[in-house]
Amino acid sequence: MTASLSNVRAGAGPADSDARRFVAAAARFVLIGLVLYAGLYGAAEAVVRAHADRNRFHMVRSSPPARYDYVILGASHAAVLGYRDMNARLEQMTGKRIMNLSIVGAGIAVNELLFDYFLTRHQAGALVYIVDSFGFYSSDWNERRLEDTRLFVRAEFDSRLVRLLAAHPATRATALDYLVGFSKINDRDRFLPDVPVEEGARFERTYRPVPQIDRERLAYLYPGPVDPVVFDRYMRRFEAFVQRTIERGIDVVVVKPPIPDRVSKLMPDEAAFDARLTAALEGRKVRFHDFSRVGNDDKWFYDTDHLNQAGVLQFFEASLKQVLMGDPQR
C-alpha cells in the first residue's frame, strides 16, 4: 500500500486553508463516526441483553427492584452455590429470597463494589460473606481483578455503575471502558453463553485427588509468602466494609466454606488468618461459621476445592440452611 502524496511544499501559501479544510473534514468524519459508534454500541448492548445470564452486574441491573433476605458474596467457593438450580433450591429450603453475587477470583475490593452496586437498586436483609484467605493476600484478587474489563462485558449499561466505578482511582480506567462500551463492542466471545457448556458435567464429577494438581492449584491461589502489610490492608478494608454494612441495617454472616483437608494443609498461615478474622469480627455482632472441616470429604468435590452438586446439597442441608434460617443475633 503506497501513498504517493507528499506534504513537502516549500513556501506554500494556502497551508492555513489546507489546515482549516482538514479540520473541518476531520470534524465531520468524527461526528459521523460517533453516530456509527453509537450504532455499534447499541448492537453490542443488544447482544449483551440476549446472552448475559450469570454476570453479577447484569443480575443486579436486570432483576426488578426487590428486597432480598440474603445476598451471598464471595469467590468461586461461593459461586458453586448458584450453579444450575442450586440457588432456587436454597430459596425453597429456607423460604428466603436469595441473590448469589459471588464472582470467581473476587476479593474484598470486588465484593465491596458489587454490593454497593446492588444496594443502588435493591435492598438486603442480610449479607452472607463466604470468606477465603487468598482474597486477602494479593491485589490480584482485588484492584487488579477490577481492572479486568471482562467483569463488566456482560453488564448492561447503568449510569449508577459508572458513577461507582469512577469514584475509585483503581477503577477509573474500567469506568471509562464500561462507559464507552469498547470491551462489549470488541468482545470476541460475544455469542458464547454466559454459563460454560461444560459446567454441568463438571458439577456432577467426583474428584480423584492428584497431589501435583493440588499443589499447582494452591500455588496459583497463594503464589508467594503472605505479605503481612498487604494482609493487614485488606483485612482492615474487610472490617470497614462489615461495619458499614451493619450501619446500613444489614445483618452480616461470615462463613468459611468446606475445604478438603489435603488442601487446607497446603494453605499458608491459615491458622493466623482464622485468628485475625475472628478478632476482626469479635464485638461486631457478626455471626461467624467455620465450616471448613464440615462435610469436606473428597467425594463432595468436583476438583481440588470446589463442591460438586451433591456436595453443595449436602452443605445446604447440614450447614447453610440452619445458618440462613437462624435468627440474627443483634
Binding site: 500500500m1 501513498a3 502524496l5 507528499s6 513537502v8 497551508a15 492555513d16 468524519f29
Partner: protein, 483 residues
Amino acid sequence: MSFNSFTFLPSFAALAVVYYALPHRFRWPLLLVASVGFYATFTPSFVLLLLGVTLAAYTGGIGIESAVSSRASRAIFAAALGAVLAGLLTFKYFDFLASSIEGLVARTGADEAQPLLPRLNIAAAAGLSFYTLSSVSYLVDVYAGRMPAERHLGYFALYVAFFPKLLSGPIERAQAMLARMRQGVVFSEQGVTAGLQLMLWGLFKKVVIADRLAVFVDGAYSQAAFAPAPDLLIATYLFAFQIYCDFSGYTDIAIGAARILGFELMANFRRPLLATSVGEFWSARWHLSLSAWFKDYVYIPLGGSRVSRIRQSVNLLVVFLVSGLWHGANWTFVVWGGANGLYQVGSLWTRGLRERLRAADRLPGFLVALARGLLTFHLILVTWVFFRAASLEDAVTILSRVSGSIGNLASPAISRLAGADMLISIGLIGVLLAVEILDERRPIWERLAARPVALRWAAYYVLIGALLVMGRWNLQQFVYMQF
C-alpha cells in the same frame, strides 16, 4: 508505548497539533523530546544506550572528517564503529556467544555444571539492532566521503532516535533525513490524509489480522513436539501471513506517522506475497531497507556481483548469514538466513537454465506467474519455520512431523479450518490478498482517491469498524520489536 496501544494515538495527535503550531526552529527539539520519551516508555535505562550510540556516531563522524591524515581518519572510523557496535554485541549477542561457546566445549566432554563464561542476563533493548545499523551507515557514508559529517547534534540525535522508525525501521540513510530536517514543513491536507490512511491500514493489518493469527500460531509452535501435525501445518501457513501483517503493519504506521510530520521514510515492503522468485522477494519486496543496507554496506564492499560466480555465491551466503544473525541471537535465525542465502545461490547458478525454460514454455503467462508465486511462497515458508521456532530442535521437529504425515494431513487440516475463528482468519487473509493484488496494478489509495468522498469514507469506517469489533487489542508486541 507501542504503536497499537490506546495511549499512542491520542499522544501522537497531540504531538502533531503542537508540531504544526510551532515555528520551524522549535520542531526538531519537540520531535527529539517526543522520540526519547517514546523510547523511555519501554525501558527507561536504555535511553542511556541510545544516547551512547548516538554520541559515538556523532563524535566519530566529526572526528573522521576533521582527521589530519587518512590513517587517523581510518583509526577514528574503526574506533567509532567499534563503539557503536559494542552496544549491539554486548546487549544482544554476549549471552548467546557465551552459551554457544560453552555448547561447543560441552561436546568435548567438559564439565557442563560449571559455566565457563559469565552471563549478563540483560533484557533485549528495543530497537537496538535498527538504530545501530542507522549509525553504522552514517559512519561509513562519512568515511567514504558520500556525505559530510553532521555538526548539529540535535539534528543528528533526531536522525537516530526519530520515533516512527526507531524501534523497527525502516532503516533510513542519514543524508536524506538530515537534509529534510533543515527544510520547513508546511501543513498539507493531502499529506496528512495520506499518512492517516497508511496508519489505519497498518493498524488493521497488525491488530485485526496479525494478532488474530498469532493466537493459533503461538499455541501450536509453543508445543512443537505435542501439537497435532495438522495444527503445525496450519500454523506454519498462518505465520507467513502473520509476520507479513505484523511487520508491514508496523512499517505502515511508522511511514504514515512520519509523513504526517513531513518526513518521507523509505518503503519497506512491496507486496512480498506476490513475489515470483526468491530473488525478487528479497531485492524488491521484503524488508527493503534492510536489504538495501546489506547490499550497500556488506555485499558491495565484499565485491558484490563483480566477482567470480563462486565468490559471488560466498558473498551472498555471508550477507544472508549475517542478516539472519542480526535478526536474533539464536541459531534458528542463522539457519533461516543461511537457507535464504542458499536459495539465492541456487538462483544464481540456475539462472541460465531458468531463462531457457522460460523462453521455451507455452503456458499462459498468468499460470506461469501463479506457479512461480506459489513455489516462491512455499520456499520462503519452509524458512519461516526456523524463524518462528523457539529452537533448532523445535524447527526440525515441526518440519519432520509435518513432512512425515503429509499424506494424512489434508482431511484433519480441513476440519480444523472449519471453525468460526479460523474461517474469519482465512477470510481476512483473502481480503489482504485481494487488496495486495489490486495494489500491485494500481495503488489502492489512488483508486480510492478517484472515487467519491462518500466511498472513501465508507472504506475508512469499515476499517475502523473492523478494528473495533475484531481487533485483538491485548497489545501483542510487534514481532520485529524483539530484534
